[in-house]
Every structure is written in C-alpha cells, then in structure tokens.
Amino acid sequence: MTTSGLGNPQLQAPLKRVRGWGSSKSGTGHFIIQRITALALAPLCLWAIWLALALVHADYAHARALVHQPVNAVLLVGLAIALFWHAQLGLQVVVEDYVHTRLTEVVLQLLIKFFCLLGAIASVLAVVRVAL
C-alpha cells in the first residue's frame, strides 16, 4: 500500500493512519512496570517461600496468627498486588505474541485482566480480614 500521493487508495494523510495507535509517551510503560513489579517480587517471593514453609503442618490457629502479624500482613498485600500486576503484564505479552485472531485475543486479554484484578482484590481482602 502506498502511503501518500496519487497512489493512495484511501486518500488518507499519513498522520491519520498513525493517530490512535498509542502514545509515544506511554510506549515504555508496560516494560517499566513489568521490571518494577519484578524487582518487588524477587525479595517478596523469597520471603513468601519462608512463609509457605512456616505454614507446612501449621494448624488453623497458627496459620491465622502468622498472617495476623502486621509485618506478614503488609508484605502479603504487597506481594498480592505485585504478583497479579506482573502476571497480567506477562500473560498479556504471551497472548499478543501467539493469538492472532482478533476476537479471541480481545476476549483472552479481558479475561486475564478480570482474573488478575479479582485475584488481587480477593487476596488483599482475605489478608485484611485475617489481619484486622
């Protein structure tokens, strides 16, 4: 397809074709937030492994007491937010790369966003309920 001049079948200016396809100001937003959440998740996951090991063979009261501790509750909320944000960004790229049918892609992207958002809300709410 020619982009300008007499051969332009759509009589569109080049500017018309690029408008609405994204802002040059937020183009790196996805990349940067993926890295920021990764930086947060690295230590948080190591801590979460420690917490998970502490929960092995813990009875209900002990598990609740662990999550009730302010430090653990705060870190769990931070973990949940970073985790689901990072998961959404990562899954988004996988779908963008491999799903080439527009409708399927949009549906999957929406499902991923809804799942991650609900997952974050449910986890945070659960921690808050145990912590308060």
Partner: protein, 131 residues
Amino acid sequence: MPQHPRPLSPHLDVYRWQLTMTLSILHRATGIALAVGTLLFIALLVALAAGPESYAAVQSFCASKLGLVLIAGWSWSLCLHLCNGIRHLAWDTGWGYEVPRARATGWGVVVVSTLMTVLIWACVFARGGVA
C-alpha cells in the same frame, strides 16, 4: 490477521539446541504456570479468612497426590522464573549480553534454581514430610 503471508519467527527448527533458547522458552512457560498457580495463593488466603473448615479443605488438597505434584512443579517454576528473572534484570542494565557470559549466567540459573528447589523440599521433609 495479516492479509499477506508474513515471514514467521522464531524458526525454532532451524537452530541447534542451545541453553539460552531453552531458558527463554522455560521463562515463558514457567510464567504461565505460575499465573495458574496464583489460584492456590488465592485459595489459601481466602480459605484462611473463611474459617477452619475451608482451610482444612485446602490443606488436604495440598497434601493430596495431585496437590503435591502441582506444588512441586510450582516450586521449581518459581525458582527458575525468579533466577532467570534476575538474569533478565541484569540484561536490562546492559550487563551480560556477551555470548559466553549469557551461557555462564544461564547455567548459573539452572544450578541455583535446582539447588533452591531441593533446599525448599529438604526443609519440608525436615519439618516432618508432606503427609
């Protein structure tokens, strides 16, 4: 969908096997697996908030054969994705792109993530096993 046949990439079958590409594929695969694993994260926290019966149900699922296989897979996935993720963050600073260094850090990821996984399960068994 593209209107014209476009060149496809990556051409996985024309390359000989390399550690770097294996880790790249595994990074994605473990990322997807861990995203699925967040279901257990949600289930555990929600059950803890809901009450002793719900928590016991999640606990018994974790101790079941299926639960153990899944948790074993997720623990290894987490260690690999974490180690390789740190490798990616190093690349983001511009460090480590030379081929010998990329291979060396790749083997580092394999060794450290395996050791971490073994260590985690050694701790589990030191606490009285999985049953």
